[in-house]
Amino acid sequence: MNDVAVEPATSIDVHLDVFEGPFDLLLGLIARHRLDITEVALSTVTDEFLAHTRSLGRTGELEQTSSFLVVAATLLDMKAARLLPQATVEDEDDLALLEARDLLFARLLQYRAFKQVAASFGVRLAAQQHRHPRAVSLEPRFAALLPEVLISLGRDSFAELAARALTAKPTPVLSLAHAHTTTVSVREQAALLVQRLRRTTTTTFRALTADAPDTLTTVARFLALLELFHEGAVTFDQADPLGELHVRWTGGDDDVEVSEEFDGTAAPHLRPSGLAAVPEDGSDD
């Protein structure tokens, strides 16, 4: 049982190695820039956030990356939206983007609130620890009067209790049940998109993701597309305000190298997080 000190009440200075998930990291980055939680703040730290998500891959903790990807996708979404012609909200996708943005803000604020009360819990627990409850053995004259002990457990339950106590990490039976270890590589998805875009030149995001077998693949393609945009290999366009997002290939015939930004080198695949290997923050045990 390691004894990691309780963080101080204002604990938002960032040690990137010990962040507690994507919200924690985002809050930390925003605090480091001394910003309030605003859209500007989010865009300011988007690159740093992505850089960190990338480094997660490098350190072989890619299992953790998927929870970061959810946040990364929204951040990139927001960034991409700012690159597009401004218009009023009509389209379903844009509504979804606004919704995702608001949700991200709300969850950040919620997380921050819990982080604050958690710090106050820590302070309180530490203070309370110096008030010691009386717990002494009964004076012998009273001990003799104690009624017979009632052990309400049968022997099997008793054994189970012992097993639980002796097992620090019970195997997560339920999560193993649907553990099919699919992995999705952003790089591979990018290669696939390049192939298709070269063939059709113009298409839509909807079409490009229509055959995605799962949501993780959709995310990977989305990220791949943004990478390609970054490389100048595609442009985005909307025929009418907030219409379908059109993707146009501008990359020519040269090879387009999609960086390993999201895949990392140590563990080049994204894994859905519903599996057994969900990030553990078990710094506790």
Binding site: Q110, F121, R124, Q129, H130, R131, T215, E280
Partner: protein
């Protein structure tokens, strides 16, 4: 038995004459003096005792017992005793006073609890304010898997299982009485209000906030809820 013994405060929240509940002198025959009887019982207890339990032991009405407990508590405070009587987790128990912790801790060695990590504290805070709650929902709020941390909290006795979700059958968690004890709370009602820390979120559907069904996030494919099946 008309005068209370010296040393008991002449304070009585219930408005009785002198720190002791008003009992008809006739009826009082055979009854134990309430305040010292309570002191005696509390002295042998190794857990917080609630007023009804104490009332049964001292054979006085619960309301009188409650008044006497308040009187004792105030008296120990006023006298600056090295111990105090505290109402924690729904019951009363003797504790050492914090100011004398240096002496107590020189004497009690090895009694220190390992401190909780930031991860454990955050998880505990979420459970405390959103109970009963599944691990998946705590994960969604914290953005990380909480299985290991939840297990630690259960092992430490701060959190316990509280049945399962109606829909998915996920195990629900709640804080325990021991949590209140450790926090020095009489009940969960004493937790500070979370609302002032949560500006502007009321526009959002609470369910979405808890990460249960955020459509966008679903699409993104990563909420860890399904871990607990």
């Amino acid at each position: 038995m008309t005068d209370p013994p010296a040393g008991y405060p002449a304070v009585d929240p219930a408005g009785h004459p002198a720190g002791y509940p008003a009992v008809d002198p006739e009826l009082e025959l055979g009854l134990l003096e309430l305040s010292p009887a309570l002191e005696a019982v509390l002295m042998v207890a190794d857990a917080p005792l609630d007023a009804p339990t104490l009332a049964a032991a001292v054979a006085h009405p619960v309301a009188d017992v409650e008044a006497a407990l308040a009187g004792l508590t105030a008296g120990y405070d006023a006298d600056g005793r090295g111990f105090e009587l505290r109402n924690v987790a729904g019951g009363w128990r003797f504790y050492t006073r914090e100011a004398y912790a240096p002496a107590v801790e020189r004497f009690v060695v090895g009694g220190q609890q390992a401190r909780l990590t930031a991860a454990a504290l955050e998880t505990l805070a979420v459970v405390a304010y959103r109970q009963p709650i599944s691990r998946g929902r705590v994960s969604a709020i914290r953005g990380v898997n909480v299985d290991g941390v939840m297990r630690t909290l259960v092992t430490r006795g701060l959190v316990g299982e509280a049945g399962s979700d109606d829909e998915g059958g996920a195990v629900l968690y709640r804080t325990t009485g021991y949590f209140c004890e450790r926090m020095g709370l009489a009940s969960l009602d004493e937790l500070p209000d979370l609302a002032p820390l949560l500006p502007d979120v009321d526009e959002l559907d609470g369910d979405e906030l808890d990460g249960d069904e955020p459509p966008r996030e679903r699409r993104a494919g990563a909420p860890p809820e399904d871990t607990d099946g």
